[in-house]
Symmetry: C2
Subunit: 323 residues, 2 copies
Amino acid sequence: MLDELAEKVVQGDRRALARLITRVESRDVKIAQVMAEIYEKKGNADIIGITGPPGAGKSTMTDRLTTIYRGRGRKVGIVAIDPSSPFSGGALLGDRIRMNRHATDPDVFIRSLGSRGSRGGLSRATREVTALMDVCGFDVIIVETVGVGQTELDIMDLAHSVVVVFVPESGDVVQTMKAGLTEIADLFVVNKSDRPGADLLERELQGMIEMSVRCDWAIPVVRTVAVKDEGMTTVVEHLDAHRKYLTTCKKDPDALGRMRLVQFGEVVSGLIQDLVEDSTGAEGLLGKLAGQVYNGTLNPYAAAQKMLTDPEMLRELFKGDGC
Amino acid sequence: MLDELAEKVVQGDRRALARLITRVESRDVKIAQVMAEIYEKKGNADIIGITGPPGAGKSTMTDRLTTIYRGRGRKVGIVAIDPSSPFSGGALLGDRIRMNRHATDPDVFIRSLGSRGSRGGLSRATREVTALMDVCGFDVIIVETVGVGQTELDIMDLAHSVVVVFVPESGDVVQTMKAGLTEIADLFVVNKSDRPGADLLERELQGMIEMSVRCDWAIPVVRTVAVKDEGMTTVVEHLDAHRKYLTTCKKDPDALGRMRLVQFGEVVSGLIQDLVEDSTGAEGLLGKLAGQVYNGTLNPYAAAQKMLTDPEMLRELFKGDGC
């Protein structure tokens, strides 16, 4: 049975969605139970990932795509991820301002996720937030993330279609990322393509695509000037084509199965990590162990050994009220 | 009692070090026990982090710093992290070539770490590899990572001093990262500073530093042309000063304690994640559960619930032979 808040989310209640997302963000351990039930009610939202180096115009791109999808009557959820400040956990003010014109549209739901806590947490939270938006009735979910590091690529795992946005000055980034890019991107965009260097970058991307090993889907390269709305409908056409391609092509069942296992591992280990990090001052065996680690009298590896080989501690930890 | 390989590492055996690192990389679950003992033998190596956007010249910087430290008779370990290709798990060929002139020096140990497996894994592996190099007798350990994403910042947590390298064209990156940068960097370098735009970028960085809240350590901005060895001794002087500052300043004991707890959580959850991801075809309760997740008949959250609330499964998992 779903809890009251989750039930409201399933019925399309925006305020309930916002509150449930806050629980996801604050790493409420009871959320796992809600998610277990929410997952059974997931629809089939299109998840579009937008990534690329800072300054490439990803937020403008997200804004324009939102306008186009809204014009088609589709409800749009936006997850803006800002891993650039792990300290303040805040989102970029600029993004919020640029998104403002959609902020009053009841069929657009925007949420910024900052990076709080530990590795993997952001990737897990993003997956959970997109699932919640899906269940709440949003048809297209755009996940926008700054940067081209590992976390950003991890996050892109959950998108059906990934757009990697560059500007003509991105040659260095493209050269460094090379193979990794063609393996993650379903669509390349050269934004701000009215600047010099767009031709050269486009040729570099085309060259990379020709050398890549993905045979069934030819990665398109689209030139845009998002801020002037140039090329944006072409982007959407390619996204539609890619989504159609996904539904017709055969998925590798083993790859799918392994992805599910990775997610399972992520959920379990995330719950345990949360338990450990919040264990200072806790009662019982874990509290005692955590105290020793905190004081530096026991090293983290020795503590892990103790924790995982002590059946008493495991019973205490997982007696069922925590998760 | 240390195992044979670990004992050799403590005695300074390079080949044993290489083999133990391979075990770390392949996520051998028994490594946790070795690490628990190795940790007690850790020395006091200086760990220097070098990060920044692609193309900033980080590898050249690492190469030149190595030359300077070797000239002072210090043994140098280098961990080159390449999170750009999560797929191939490989390291950048270019880095290896540039490092070649140190490759025959027995007092320089270079290891590239690619990103294999799941989130957090790279951060954990890096921490373990630096600990092993430290125990093996390396005095300065340089951790070089491409990119400015979350994973890269996480990795920098383990460094005593973090150098963030830019080029004059990095204005966009600097603008996007802002606050996050001054919280992570102990030293800014404007490399390739013979190119136009170096003055402007330097002023931007200085402006950011003035607005930042870190009061005790004034982040220096150094202009270099690493490829011509210009400014490199200044970089080292500032690194020395920062290391000295660290030993004289009072550390916040609570921050230190919490960092240890995070690491404890990382180790425990990492072990559990490895167990789960490798559980297809496994015997017993976990194998059965993993099979259901793999086939998609049980969602990852429901599986996590089952796993963590079943005392039988926990007993089976952690009966002591696995970790």
